[in-house]
């Protein structure tokens, strides 16, 4: 049973466009929802995270939108740049349980 489902598997966006990656979860006990960015040959790095008490969080060009009733959250990358080309993972965990559950990832390619 996949607890965190991510889509699409891959995404191609023109430079300057908006990249949108979606994630759905099943466990209502989850209360921490991070997004990680991973470049080839490197480990994942935390990009931005949200807790369910807010519906949106913005940091620079990156925004998480969170819909608790639908058990969905998404990552929006505004003004996408070639340097944003990477694999993005949504994830979830329970407060106090540091076992983070990852989605399968989205390979994002920004065309120059």
């Amino acid at each position: 049973q996949q607890q965190v489902k991510q889509s699409p598997q891959s995404l191609i966006v023109q430079k300057g466009g908006i990249s949108i990656i979606n994630c759905a979860y099943e466990n209502t006990a989850f209360d921490y929802f991070p997004w990680y960015q991973q470049f080839p040959g490197k480990g994942p790095a935390l990009l931005i995270a949200i807790r369910p008490d807010v519906s949106e969080k913005k940091e620079g060009r990156f925004t998480i939108s969170f819909n608790k009733s639908a058990k969905q959250f998404s990552l929006h990358i505004m003004d996408s740049q070639p340097g944003d080309s990477a694999t993005y993972f949504c994830a979830a965990s329970n407060y106090g349980d540091d076992k983070i559950i990852f989605g399968k990832g989205t390979r994002l390619h920004i065309l120059p």
Binding site: G43, S93, G96, K99, K104, G105
Partner: protein, 115 residues
């Protein structure tokens, strides 16, 4: 060190052999995690330590996998009788303590190839 260090970066072994993968966490981080990432997949939790003790080892796939952290710093993931299906990137991460997931940092991983 400045970040989580994992050695070796690549390990090639033959089916049935024993391997050890090392993780050196960020100095002062008491929580240490091991994940496994298969090709084209997200990281999959294996085990995490708080100090010297394994707080949760529910992700270890079977008894061929074992991890230790004897002094609460460096950790070693040990795999006995390796199988081709064990081929993956093994990632280590550390954080200042339990409940500080926002401060979780990953190493670059060890690429294990079992021939």
């Amino acid at each position: 060190g400045a970040g989580v260090s994992q050695t070796p970066s690549n390990k090639v072994t033959e089916k049935g052999k024993y391997v050890e993968l090392r993780c050196d966490p960020i100095s002062g981080h008491t929580a240490l995690y091991w994940y496994r990432q298969s090709l084209g997949q997200g990281p999959e939790f294996l085990i995490y330590f708080q100090g010297t003790g394994a707080a949760d080892d529910s992700g270890l796939p079977n008894d061929r996998f074992f991890a230790v952290r004897p002094e609460g710093s460096v950790s070693t993931l040990k795999i006995q009788r390796t199988e081709r299906g064990d081929s993956a990137v093994y990632l280590c991460a550390s954080s200042p303590g339990i409940g500080e997931g926002e401060k979780l940092f990953f190493g670059s991983g060890t690429q294990l190839s079992v021939l």
